[in-house]
Amino acid sequence: MTSTFLPDKRSTPGADRPPPATAAAGRTRRRVLHWLTAVGFQVPALVLFGTLVLLPMLFAVYAAFFRWGGFGMPEDFIGGDNFTRLFQDPVFLGDLWRCLVLVALSLVLQLPFALALAVALNQRIRGRAVYRMLFFAPYILSEAITGVLFGMIFAPDDGLADQLLGTFGLDGLGGQWFADPDTVMATLFLVMTWKYFGFHMMLYLAGLQSIPAELTEAALIDGAGPWQRFRHVTLPLLAPTLRISVFLSVIGSIQLFDLVWIVTAGGPDHHSETMAVTMFQYGFKRYQVGYASAISVAMFGISLVFALAYQRFVLRRDLEGATTTMRGGGS
């Protein structure tokens, strides 16, 4: 790899040497060397990314068209049958529905909650450093720790949740939490909010701090009330941050695995299953690798379509300049 850009070094003194007739050839040679140098730096990343990310992704797409148990190479080609089956599989359709529910809950409850707390902590208020640290801390803990912890806190009867409700005489509100098909998703969402809202709050805080104080002060002088200042000054200026945060939240919901796998493994009776959990069940527990690959491909397709549409219609303004005005130092 090192040798790739050594010739480029030597080419600098050599560039003066060729007579005028071969100057064009020399320029071409230099351009090729320049390209080789630039790409040479990419080689390790390309090898790593190509073999361990792209190759498996492409293979998943290939395997999705076979009935295959995961041993040897896939041979039993069945066309699009896995995908037809996918859209008749009540568990997978349920996964899609649950994904939508989580996205909706996040957008309507979790992100506004994070925004409200970011606005609160953006003011000079006693103890804000402590609050900021406390609200963000769960984001640092692994999903494994979070999952096991809340699995015990929401254990029916013995867990902290039911005990606390009992202490306040609210036994009626207690319940089976993760064990009840009707409450499992709500409980899961509660845990997800506990763990993840701090991350979005931190994003908003960073965005809020980049808003010049003069703007809100000007609005104040113009007689705008707190809500008007928030609605017409802060919110529009925070829009790029909000759009990114929504994007990350949706992608996170589509790909949710760790927390669900540890707390409920998708139960009771599939009521908290996500696409990734279903994929894992088929791929690693039931050895229907072809079908599991089809689920993977569907997940990727959904992420991709969402990401492209979102970039096209929502993020376009924010990304302008990021991909169009790149200057190269080497030229």
Partner: protein, 276 residues
């Protein structure tokens, strides 16, 4: 004046305090429960421990398996970080300082990697690692983790590298510095804060990763802390107090790391989200 200020912010303080309590209660409950015996925990789930039992904590700290998990997690986190930062720095350098044919396509490919769900690649990756004999081998976790960390790391580093003025590079070239010399002797030392940021992100991602070690390690030899936590719960499922103590001890390294590297971590997460 001051009294009016306090009066106005009182509802705000109240809200923050309520949320703060809700956030802290699960953690405090875990710490306190670890100081009870399981029997005491079922009789007295909410109050302070009486008596304070330290056996749960000392038993775990005295067992070699906990330290082994800690060692594996550390080794894998450090290995992943070294690989992903080194490889990304080279690629980001090329993206930031060279104009070359295919750059946009290549960069788009990497940024698309930001939304490749790991779960999608999990099955073929597992088969690939099995055929490369990398199961039950720390490299089987380090290399894929590094590969999936590339997009984010490259995007962040590229942003920082582009901010270094072109004059510096011209001066270095005039002084006879080749691209590699400029990269190694000038760019990397200048980008130390950025390297710190991406390293912290890589360490945290590796430390908390659950899915990949779950697939790769069948034997307990190389289990990492998240796998250990899950296994411990399975093993002592009825001994609640012990599990709480275990959870608390498993939290300590991550929280300690957070308190040391808070600025890099928060800076990196927000940079990663906004610069992408």
């Amino acid at each position: 004046m001051s009294a009016r200020r306090t009066g106005r912010t009182l509802p705000l303080h109240l809200v923050l305090a309520v949320v703060g309590v809700a956030m802290a209660v699960p953690l405090v409950y875990a710490v306190l429960s670890g100081f009870k015996s399981t029997d005491q925990l079922s009789r007295n789930p909410i109050g302070l421990p009486d008596p304070w039992v330290t056996g749960n904590y000392t038993d775990i700290l005295g067992s070699s398996s906990f330290w082994q998990l800690l060692g594996s997690s550390t080794l894998i986190a450090v290995g992943t970080t070294v690989v992903v930062v080194a490889v990304s720095a080279l690629a980001a350098f090329s993206f930031a300082r060279f104009a070359f044919r295919g750059r946009e396509t290549l960069f788009t490919l990497f940024t698309m990697g930001l939304m490749f769900p790991f779960a999608v690649a999990a099955l073929p990756l597992f088969l690939l690692l099995r055929s490369m004999d990398l199961l039950d081998n720390p490299l089987g976790v380090i290399l894929p983790q590094a590969a999936f960390g590339l997009p984010m790391t490259i995007v962040i580093l590229r942003g920082f590298f582009r901010e270094i003025p072109a004059e510096l590079e011209e001066a270095a070239t005039l002084d006879g510095c080749g691209p590699l010399g400029f990269f190694w002797r000038i760019l990397l030392p200048m980008a130390r804060p950025a390297l710190g940021t991406v390293s912290v992100l890589a360490v945290v991602a590796s430390w908390n990763n659950f899915f990949l070690p779950l697939l790769v390690f069948n034997e307990p030899t190389w289990w990492t802390l998240p796998i250990g936590v899950q296994q411990f719960q399975g093993q002592y499922s009825s001994e609640y107090a012990r599990i709480f103590a275990y959870l608390v001890l498993a939290m300590v390294p991550a929280l300690a790391f957070y308190s040391v590297a808070e600025r890099q971590l928060v800076g990196g997460l927000t940079a990663g989200a906004t610069k992408g």
